[in-house]
């Protein structure tokens, strides 16, 4: 395909989102379907263009766009690096839009469909714009469009919890945007319209102090957007309030934009990353991975569980990037490259698995009429096709072979082990810490995912709506199962994919077409999968030969003489109890048992109730004190009774003032 055609397609896929937003606002009853159709088609086009560019040699520059007055001062282009992200964002948007058509039609009471459609289209438009922009002005403008539309999407269902989540998000999004803006201001010296490539040459001459401040601000800014601990508190709240397809977009696309920003700045703009920053990124990553996985083990709300899984995955990604930076500085380039590859591949893999799981969670929540895992159960019988699709996603998200996340994990661990011997003592220690932590996290990820699947799909239904659930239609099944298929394919064809994006510019390719080789080890995912299949198939044949398959009878589960009820199935709370206990020093969950005598004078006959308090350590220990401090400050400044909203507003004001002070 010619560059010309690609450029037109790219422009269409980008501007198409704006068109979709306009269409969505039309007072027509077909507006909903039409706008989502436009989004889907444009997104698909974008993904195709992205794949072409990612494997091409030349970047694609869109010169015409900057001529338009709307995009004054912006330049758009797609190089091999950003093309990966463009493919990802567009690809996930395609599935989200396809899913949104039936999903929103099911939810007319919860959401204003028209607004959600407009906002979603603008949201995707913003994300694409961030990737396409080649200067700070464009980058920040679209970044802000993306951030603000998400805020309104959170408010879309108009509930009080949503408002609370929305404002929490608003504060952190504003802080992060301000920090990024200030950081980029410092780096560019105010030259907002210069292309990134020009900026990269300028940063080398920056004074140490500004570099120090800028890097700190940028780590905070991007880390906050990517949901790194301890700036992650907004993520679970937001995930549980936005419409499902936006959740998928959030986890599958927007968090990756933060990674994109981080890599854009740290790999391409900065002259070199100081050691403290490397360690900060590394430890924030490790912390996020551990905290994310522990809370996803604990959570009983399906969307929050998945949100913590996102946090865990981005934690692993940042660990990989941190180790890559460190290894690069130590001169261990093989490890550095492999770690970056692993991070990019994990990003792709996690986007596929997580958005698939989020889309599936929408179906489950609608079926059980609750986000609580304790209200689901037994859905594998009610929705067999969906259950198979989700099971594949679960195995993927649990880092089990032969799915894509496992491949990323394999590359990383294998490269670390291979690089262990030639490393300095410092790197050796870091590698050992990382290997232990990452395997710990992936192990517990299995726990969390087994829990999610077992609670939602297996055994008997635990609530009436779940017991009456119906198989979802093909319009729901297709997006979800295609994503699970994609997760499998991505794993099986990992060598080809990595080879394709090999010359991205971050690192030279050293993966051949069929085989992954790194750190002294090699893996052919296709062989692995085929051999597993052969073994199981052979087993199936043998079993058919040596025992009578027809001699099978269905009978109730053995109940010991008293009938089993759904109350006797293990719950998510009970399932995670060993982990709660083993990590109680950190998690500090509280089990409150309330014992009330049923009569006044005999205190031995009692009724008991129990609540499990899952403390948000970060929220209680970090945010509440800071929030309280700001509230006090706000009440001083405004000299009014400290209402919550005022506190928020003054916080935003303060943040802006601070930003300006730092920037100027």
């Amino acid at each position: 395909m010619t560059m010309q055609a690609l450029a037109i397609m790219l422009l269409a896929s980008f501007l198409g989102m704006a068109l979709a937003a306009v269409v969505a606002s039309l007072p027509n009853r077909h507006a909903h379907r039409l706008s989502n159709l436009i989004v889907a088609v444009c997104a698909l086009m974008g993904a195709v263009v992205g794949i072409f560019i990612a494997t091409a040699t030349e970047p694609l520059i869109l010169p015409s766009a900057s001529l338009w007055p709307v995009f004054y001062g912006m330049n758009f282009s797609l190089d091999r690096f950003s093309a990966i992200f463009y493919t990802l964002v567009s690809g996930i948007s395609f599935f989200a839009a396809a899913y949104a058509i039936p999903y929103l039609e099911q939810q007319p009471d919860n959401y204003n469909i028209r607004n959600v459609n407009i906002l979603t289209a603008v949201f995707i438009f913003g994300m694409q714009g961030v990737i396409l922009s080649t200067n700070i002005f464009g980058f920040m403008t679209f970044w802000e469009i993306m951030s603000i539309t998400l805020f309104f999407l959170i408010l879309a269902d108009g509930k009080a919890v949503s408002r609370k989540a929305g404002f929490l998000y608003l504060i952190l999004a504003h802080l992060s945007t301000s920090a990024i803006m200030a950081g980029l201001f410092l780096l560019s010296g105010g030259a907002l319209l210069n292309n990134f490539s020009v900026l990269a040459q300028m940063t080398a001459d920056l004074p140490q102090v500004s570099l120090f401040v800028a890097i700190g601000l940028l780590i905070f800014g991007f880390g906050c957007k990517a949901g790194l601990v301890p700036f992650h508190v907004w993520l679970p709240e937001v995930h549980s309030q936005v419409p499902t397809q936006v959740s998928a977009l959030l986890s599958g696309a927007m968090l990756n934009i933060a990674v994109y920003g981080f890599l854009r700045v740290f790999l391409f703009l900065l002259p070199g990353v100081p050691m403290w920053a490397v360690f900060t990124v590394f430890f924030l990553g490790l912390l996020s991975a551990v905290v994310g996985v522990l809370y996803s083990v604990l959570e009983r709300d399906i969307t929050r569980l998945l949100a913590y899984t996102s946090i865990q995955n981005f934690g692993i990604m940042f660990t990989m990037l941190g180790l890559a930076l460190l290894a690069g500085q130590e001169g261990n380039l093989v490890l550095a490259q492999a770690a970056v590859y692993a991070a990019i591949f994990l990003m792709l893999a996690q986007a596929v698995c997580q958005s698939g799981l989020f889309l599936a969670s929408g179906v489950l929540v609608a079926a059980a009429r609750s986000r609580r895992l304790e209200a689901m159960g037994g859905l594998a019988k009610r929705m067999p096709q969906l259950s198979v699709g989700v099971f594949m996603l679960i195995l993927g998200a649990a880092f089990l072979p032969p799915f894509a996340p496992f491949i990323a994990d394999w590359i990383f661990v294998q490269a670390m082990v291979g690089g262990l011997e030639e490393s300095s003592l410092r790197l050796k220690i870091m590698i050992l810490v990382t290997v232990s932590t990452i395997t710990f996290v992936t192990g517990l990820a299995v726990f969390a995912m087994v829990k999610l699947y077992a609670m939602a799909f297996l055994a008997q239904a635990r609530s009436e709506p779940a017991a009456a659930a119906m198989q979802p239609g093909l319009e729901f099944l297709l997006p979800i199962t295609s994503l699970s298929g994609l997760g499998l394919m991505l794993g099986l064809f990992a060598p080809q994919v990595l080879n394709g994006i090999g010359a991205v510019g971050i690192a030279p390719a050293n993966f051949s077409q069929q085989i992954l080789v790194t750190g002294g080890g090699s893996l052919v995912p296709m062989d692995l999968a085929l051999f597993m299949l052969v073994v199981v198939f052979g087993l199936w044949l043998i079993r058919g030969l040596i025992s009578d398959v027809k001699l099978t009878r269905e009978y109730q589960t053995w109940d010991g003489g008293q009938p089993l009820t759904p109350r006797m199935e293990f719950t998510s709370t009970a399932f995670s109890a060993p982990i709660r206990f083993l990590f109680s020093f950190f998690l500090r969950t509280k089990k409150l048992v309330n014992v009330t005598p049923v009569t006044t004078h005999n205190r031995w006959i009692v009724a008991r109730s129990m609540t499990l308090l899952i403390n948000q350590v970060w929220y209680d220990r970090l945010y509440v004190p800071i929030g309280a401090g700001f509230t006090r400050l706000a009440s001083l400044v405004v000299r009014l009774q400290s209402g919550n909203l005022q506190a928020y507003i003054s916080l935003i004001l303060l943040a802006t003032v601070l930003t300006l002070m730092i920037a100027l």
């Binding site: 067999p384 259950s387 294998q414 290997v435 051999f531 597993m532 073994v535 109730q556 199935e569």
Partner: protein, 298 residues
């Protein structure tokens, strides 16, 4: 074979007669003939679990250097893949346990997956020590490199910590003392038994065989780390095949005796005491890696 052997040794050690060591095979044969009763509560998962669990363990038995080294499958014995396949088998086992909808399945499943998940770092670290000592990323390479020069543990005595870590992992993975009690009848204290609670007939035979196979795999792996020879290689003659079979039986017997001795002399720990077991295994594995690294420096 290994399960029956351990039982027999244990009975002897406790002064009982004990059943014949090959009793498990008779049990499997009987179970295979029986009717397969499937819980009506469960979904397709109940039918997939036995194949997946036994399949994963057969996979391990085939790719790991147990009686032979070399061969076409060796590339798959990459240590990360081996650890992941172990976890995969636990995952399916627990899913199957849950699907029947009984409280015991859940109880056992929750315990089993906790152990499997938390042993992951230990397994990987143990393997890393072996990989470092031999420079090969496949377990096949780990063993095959040492066939002619005596066992790895003899070559590199500093791996003794890793060997013990692997031993503890083996005990945990195969649900034996001190984390589980293979012979218990009390539903509340079960772990592995509770996960296969609602299976019967051929499926139960498959799951039980999978668990026994896992024990054999670990036993032979442990033995081969000390003394791999004689082991089948691509060029082996008929006579070697015979000696390998004999030697394998002997290896099995010795390690089974060790396990039986261990099980008879320690009491089962309470579930919440497992963290001590876990952490000691982990630090042993970590120590093994550190020693392996140190030995390279010197």
């Amino acid at each position: 074979m290994s399960v029956g052997g351990v039982r027999w040794f244990k009975a002897r050690l406790q002064g009982r007669h004990g059943a014949v060591p090959w009793l498990p095979y008779i049990t499997y044969a009987n179970l295979l003939k029986k009717e397969n009763v499937i819980s009506s509560t469960g979904s397709w998962m109940l039918h997939v679990t036995p194949y997946a669990v036994l399949g994963s363990n057969i996979f391990l038995a085939l790719v790991l250097p147990l009686v032979s080294v070399g061969g076409s499958l060796t590339a798959l014995s990459n240590f990360i893949v081996v650890a992941a396949v172990l976890l995969l088998s636990s995952t399916f086992l627990v899913m199957g346990a849950f699907d029947a909808g009984s409280a015991f399945g859940g109880l056992g499943g929750s315990r089993a997956i906790t152990l499997a998940a938390l042993f992951e770092p230990t397994i990987i670290l143990t393997f890393i020590a072996l990989v470092l000592a031999t420079g090969s990323s496949t377990l096949d390479g780990v063993i095959s490199g040492q066939v002619m020069v005596g066992g790895l543990l003899i070559q590199a005595p500093y791996l003794v910590l890793s060997w013990f870590a692997l031993m503890l992992t083996a005990l945990a993975e195969t649900a034996r003392y001190p984390v589980d009690e293979p012979g218990t009848q009390l539903e509340l204290t079960m772990m592995h038994e509770a996960t296969v609670f609602d299976y019967s007939g051929p499926y139960l035979a498959m799951l039980e065989y999978a668990s026994a196979l896992k024990l054999t795999v670990f036993v032979l792996l442990l033995a081969n780390l000390i003394l791999p020879w004689p082991i089948l290689v691509a060029t082996s003659s008929g006579l070697t095949v015979f000696s390998v079979i004999l030697a394998t039986l002997l290896k099995l017997l010795v390690v089974m005796f060790v396990i039986a001795l261990l099980e008879s002399s320690i009491a089962r720990v309470r579930l919440y005491r497992i963290q001590e077991f876990l952490t000691s295994a982990f630090f042993m594995a970590l120590g093994g890696v550190s020693l392996a690294l140190l030995s390279r420096l010197i």
